[in-house]
């Protein structure tokens, strides 16, 4: 048996833990640069706020209805996620962390009644972290996702839906009630195609011919059909594979024009990406830089360019990677454009141990460089991101993310911890 545990309206719920005033009120969390809605409380959903709705279109309505908006506070969400996942890991020997706010747990071999265990999970996570979770339990991952959806949307389930405890008629009715696009792994393109072929509901997909599905779509969709029938076909993945690429890109708070400013942004992204790279113990074999103007302003002159360069020797050194990235930037930068976004990607990642030295290459003493990078990581961890950085990252950061409504960093910065009177 597999359980899918998932935090309700995760970002909004995190904000509410430290701002109890927001309980019962319509709340939304906005994406980077306060662009659009990325999380909604149930009250905000009830007011008809849609996911990904652009905030600037909503502002008047929000004021009128008393909707409260917060910028995303990813440091807070990451810390709360870590707490939840650690607590959940104690309930089962097998855990697959699927995203920031959901994970699969294997319930196989656990003696306790599954529904009781799931209620115990809900109570514990709520008490320890203040975050509400729902649980779906089923023989397959796809059904567990579906059961979780039912647990979340239908109040009588009280936050836990054990698929096996529904009788076949109830199971059929649940599957008949939802469109096939709501199934885990069935995207919009596939569901549109399926609609043309008469597969509209989840029940339709479940009863379709699995071999034909494989021929017409793919083996992945066939697996989904099997999973809907209760035949486990997608394994629990316990260790997340190391990332093959590390991307770091942002839209700027305001357009920027100079190579100097773009260089500062690129240097900052490299620093962050290189830190991630070192965390997973990899080296980058190549590196890409891209810059572009805002395609949503078609009247302004448009420019978009990226270059990928292989590195002579794979590296995880912030200074070396920064130098390479700025070299690339010099080649793609053109004056006279309003740049809206830039990014870097570290590619061709390889384990640090597998790298051969370069015979003819004069490099900085690699041991000293590794020590320097470690000191930078330590300082940035302790004093906050960006405390120590290469000078090319600059100091003004007029291009930085717009986050006008960001809450304090209640759990990750000492000056921000909440106040009790």
């Amino acid at each position: 048996m597999i359980a899918l545990v998932d935090v309700n309206n995760f970002y909004v719920s995190c904000q509410r833990v430290f701002e109890p005033r927001l309980m019962g009120k319509p709340v939304v969390v906005l994406s980077n640069n306060d662009g659009c809605v990325v999380a909604r409380s149930s009250e905000a959903k009830a007011l008809g706020i849609k996911m990904a709705a652009p905030w600037h279109q909503l502002r008047d309505f929000a004021q009128q209805e008393g909707i409260i908006a917060r910028s995303s506070n990813y440091a807070l969400y990451a810390d709360m996620s870590h707490r939840v996942m650690t607590i959940l890991s104690r309930f089962s020997p097998n855990q697959e962390i699927y995203s920031i706010d959901e994970c699969f747990l294997s319930f196989d071999g656990l003696l306790q009644d599954h529904t009781e265990l799931a209620q115990d999970i809900r109570r514990t996570v709520l008490q320890w972290t203040g975050l509400p979770v729902c649980v779906g339990i089923a023989p397959t991952k796809t059904l567990a996702k579906f059961a979780n959806h039912i647990a979340k949307k239908q109040a009588p389930f009280n936050g836990v839906c054990a698929w096996q405890q529904l009788n076949p008629n109830q199971q059929y009715a649940q599957m008949q009630a939802l469109p096939v696009g709501d199934v885990w792994g069935i995207g919009r393109r596939i569901s549109e195609r399926m609609a043309q072929e008469g597969i509209h509901t989840i029940a339709d997909l479940r009863t379709s011919n699995a071999d034909q599905i494989r021929q017409r779509y793919s083996i992945v969709v066939q697996r989904t059909v099997h999973e809907l029938r209760g035949i486990p076909s997608i394994e629990l993945e316990e260790s997340t594979p190391d990332k093959q690429q590390i991307l770091c890109s942002r839209s700027f708070g305001q357009a920027i024009y100079t190579e100097q400013e773009l260089g500062e942004a690129i240097s900052t992204y490299i620093a962050r990406a290189a830190e991630k790279l070192r965390q997973q113990g990899s080296l980058a074999g190549s590196l890409a830089v891209f810059i572009r103007t805002n395609p949503f302003r078609p009247k302004e002159p448009q420019y978009s360019q990226h270059i990928l360069v292989p590195l002579t020797q794979a590296s995880d050194d912030t200074l070396l990677l920064t130098r390479a990235a700025l070299w690339v930037l010099k080649r793609i930068y053109r004056t006279g454009f309003a740049y809206a976004k830039a990014g870097v990607m570290l590619c061709d990642l390889q384990p640090r141990t597998a790298v051969q030295g370069h015979l003819f290459l004069q490099t900085a003493d690699p041991i000293k460089r590794a020590a320097l990078n470690k000191v930078m990581d330590d300082i940035n961890r302790q004093w906050g991101r960006g405390s120590i950085r290469v000078a090319s990252a600059g100091f003004n950061h007029g291009w930085k993310m717009r986050q006008n409504r960001v809450s304090p960093f209640w759990t990750t910065r000492w000056p921000d911890i909440p106040i009790a009177k």
Partner: protein, 149 residues
């Protein structure tokens, strides 16, 4: 279960990993440290004062409502509270509670049907909760740290 630093000890508390002794790193080859076999982990405040790391949060105290020369516990303005949400609050615990959307630190009085939040400072009247009012206990204070300088 609930413990108090009394008198407060001047210590910086950091939620970071334990110090692990890294053995032999700075010792030149051929001269093994005579202390190496006896290396132990340095004591860490987290070990003693954080029982449930996933459920532990820190607050800063503002105001003198918990300052008293008579009460058993006195929590000065500016102290850092260690708050454990994994514990269930009981009578006489010091708790962080939510009143009208604000966090407050008080002693919990919970006897029979009577429920109140008591400030240790006699200048502040107890907050007695009416039938309609909902008391939300956010977490149990297990220790606090103040800095005499």
């Amino acid at each position: 279960m609930s413990l108090h630093l009394h008198p407060p000890i001047p210590a910086a508390l950091e939620a970071k990993a334990l110090y692990l002794p890294v053995m032999g790193v700075s010792i030149s080859a051929g001269f093994p440290s005579p202390a190496e076999d006896w290396a132990e982990e340095r004591v860490d405040l987290n070990q003693r004062y954080v029982q449930h790391p996933e459920a532990t949060f820190y607050f800063t105290v503002a105001g003198d409502s918990m300052v008293s020369s008579l009460a058993e516990h006195s929590i000065p303005d500016g102290a850092t509270l260690i708050v454990d949400r994994a514990l269930s609050a009981k009578h006489d615990d010091i708790v962080v509670a939510v009143i009208d959307g604000d966090f407050t630190v008080k002693r919990l009085y919970c006897r029979g049907a009577r429920l109140a939040l008591i400030a240790e400072n006699p200048a502040y009247p107890p907050i007695v909760l009416g039938d309609e009012q909902e008391l939300s206990i956010w977490g149990v204070v297990t220790a606090w740290i103040a800095r005499p300088r």
